[in-house]
Structure formats: C-alpha cells, structure tokens
Symmetry: C2
Subunit: 244 residues, 2 copies
C-alpha cells in the first residue's frame, strides 16, 4: 500500500489519464474566442513547474499575438513546407497525401507561443548537466508537455509547428544566437477535440502496439519469462487501445 | 464559452494541476513495495500516448530490475559524479553543498527505466522533422513527462539520473550507436512526496518568478501595455507561488 501524503483518489487519477489520452496536436477548428489572462497565467505556471536539470528553469515563453509577426512566421512555414514536399518527389502517392494535410494554425489560432532554451541560466555549473549537456533542452520539452496537458484540461487546443526555420524564428523574435528556439506553438479554444490523432485518422501512420516499445532488461528484448505478468497486462492494454 | 466535447469539469482540472504541481524529482524515501503490472502498464501506456513528430513514436522503454545491471549503472554514476565534484574545486562552499545532496536512487528504487530515441522509426521521411531534426528527441521528452505525471498520480516517485555516461549506458543495455539513450529513471513507491523540489529546499537555487520567464511578442521583452491584464494575473500567480 502506498501510504504517501497527497495521494490521488480514483477520480483524480482518471482526470490525469483523461488529459493524457485526450490531448491532441491541433491545427484546425480554432475558434475566435480570446484566452482569458487567468487561464493563460495558469497554464504558463504549469509549464514553469516542469522538472528541470539542476532546477535551472532554462525556459522562456514568448507570447505572440501580433499578426505582423505571425505573418512572417507563416512565411517561413510556407518556405520550409515547399522544401519538404520536394523530398517526397519519388513517392507521388505519399506526396499527395502529405500536401492534403493541414500542418499549422499560425494565423487562425488565438495565440502563438515560442518556447526557448537558455543554457546560460544559473550556469556555467548546472547540477546534473555535467555529463549530458542535452538535459538542459530536455527540461524545456518537459515544460512543453506540462503546458499541453494544462491547456487540454482548460479546453484549449495546442499544436506544435515544426516545419519552420529556427534561423528565421531567431531573426523575427530577436532571439540571440546562444539561445535555442525549441517549440513554436499555436493555442486557442477549438470547436472540438478529435478522438484520435490527425495522422492516425488520415492513415498516414498507425499507433504501434505498446508491447513493441517495451523492452526487458536490454534494448529491444521483448521476450522474458520473468516479466510475464507485465506482458499479460500490456497485451490487455493493447487490446483496450484498439477498442478506443 | 468553450463548447468542446470532452471538456473538463473543475475537479478534473484541479486533478491535472495537482499532478503537475506535486510531481517531484525523487531520490530518497523509496519503499520496498513492488509496482504491480497493472500500474506499470498504465503509466507506460500514458508515456506511449505522448505527442510525437509525424506520429513517429520514436521511443523504447527498457525496464531494468536486474541488480547486476543496476550495479554497473551505479558505477557509471559514481565515476561521473567524481568528475563533476572536481569542476567545483574553486568554490569549496558549493562543492560541500553539492556533495551533501542525494542525486540518484538506482539501487534503492523498485525499478529503473531507460528511455531511448530511435531516429529510424518510420523514417527516413518523418513528417514535421524535415526542418528541425531535434524534434524527434523532443517527442521522447514529452513521453518522459507523461510518464512522470502518470507515476505521480499512481503514487509512484520518479527520479531522473543525469550524472551518468551515455556511452556506458549504451554498452550495458546493448543499445546500438544510432539509438540515443535520453533518460535513465528510477521509480518506486515512496513514504512521502516533498512539498517543494529538493534543490529549492536545500537552498541550491530558488524558483524564478513566472513574470521573469514570460515575454511579450519578442524575446525577453517583459514590459508591454497591451498585455497589462495578463501581467496582473501573473503577478497574482507569483504571489500565490510564494505562499506555497
């Protein structure tokens, strides 16, 4: 029995899983409704309470509502998208499917947020970052996921635009060279959340079975007698995932 | 008004924020109690439902209970820790504080999990990864944060061990060169969760004010008349954070 303080009762666990499973990468169905300051402060505070290596909190959140800035960002998306379409020239069917997808909501969403990584914050000695320097930017990604889940709970759709030039983002948002843009996000209330990811629904890719991503004691070892109880549970989970 | 399906009622929102704010990076107070397979399957499934660039699901979760493997990992921690202590030789006070901290729970925790990034999964053309290749590993970090929050809701403490050699992890867990170890995690039931992060409580670093990490339209622009409503909300949030 877990006897810790602050334990979660069943409905609280259910709510956490609901946020995790119903979170979507949103690019369509944004509404015009503005995000109230109180909601925005709550989700930013959630992001700011992410784990960070050595408690370095290396993130900055740039909120962008200015349409002139967003139009410049959109221009970078269009340029990068055109480059990516060319990469599929040898596969016409995939290229057709790819170009039919909506991949960003820069102008339609209520708000854009660029999240950056500053390796110099509280440096140069950052506790826990001495052997693996990438753990700094990994902390920023944890903050992004906190933001995403808090946004979902608040009824806000969020989409990550990654077909974009970081060089252009730096120039447009006046980010110095030593700081890395990590994510460019579009947020807003939406008319509905889809039940499954866009790329699964459109047949771009399928969700892998959980059993194929869980390994026992060594990388890509999927067979183990010692772990047979867990393997049964995972088989049940995969069965339930299919039913969703 | 947000009219989306699957909206969250107040107690569900509260539960999501509770998980986010009460999650800790845990290195002490692990109990011997084993993690049931059903709980483990649920939290791994939560991790597997993270967002991923182009739905590439580039993660693998290596579960490690074998104590011989864990002892080899612990040995790598000790080596890397000794190197890091040397880096603080010019600052004796900080060095003393640093060496007094408990920074891992490799042997005491119930389970270790290594999470890896495989850039070849569903490649070479991964939708959305054509301009910024790092988005692949960023997806793995989102999975880590999902795992962390689900674990917290289940009453499981989790700690990220980053003072470790990825080269040694590759060797010990037989991970091929093209795959990157991203995180080495220790999980288990704990006697209690601390109210504040260890590094804040011990006076290593303080939490930044939210107002200092939120920028308006451009990087590190903290003043803006246009955003005065939000700035007021953030000031209120910072006041509440101090009271915690």
């Amino acid at each position: 029995m877990n006897t810790s303080q602050n334990s979660f009762v069943q409905y609280e666990k259910d709510a956490v899983y609901k946020a995790i499973f119903s979170r979507r990468d949103v690019r369509t169905k944004f509404l015009e409704e503005k995000i109230p300051g109180s909601v925005l402060a709550r989700i930013l505070n959630a992001a700011h309470h992410a784990p960070s290596v050595g408690f370095s909190q290396p993130w900055d959140f740039i909120l962008i509502s200015d349409m002139k800035i967003r139009e410049r960002i959109k221009h970078s998306f269009i340029e990068e998208f055109q480059k990516s379409v060319k990469m599929l020239e040898s596969d016409q069917e995939r290229q057709r499917k790819y170009t039919s997808l909506k991949l960003e909501g820069i102008l339609e969403s209520s708000l854009n947020i660029c999240i950056t990584y500053d390796p110099n914050k509280f440096g140069p000695f950052v506790l826990g970052r001495t052997s693996i320097s990438e753990t700094g930017v990994y902390s920023v990604c944890c903050a992004i996921q906190n933001l995403w889940l808090a946004a979902r709970a608040e009824g806000l759709g969020m989409g990550w635009v990654s077909i974009i030039s970081n060089c252009k983002i730096r120039e447009i948002l006046e980010i110095p060279d030593y700081v890395s843009p990590v994510a460019y996000l579009c947020l807003g209330y939406v008319s509905e959340f889809e039940n499954t990811p866009d790329l699964e629904r459109s047949g771009w890719l399928r969700r892998l079975n959980l059993e194929n991503v869980v390994c026992y004691e060594k990388w890509r070892v999927h067979q183990s007698e010692q772990w047979s109880d867990l393997k049964d549970e995972i088989a049940r989970t995969d069965f339930n995932n299919k039913g969703k």
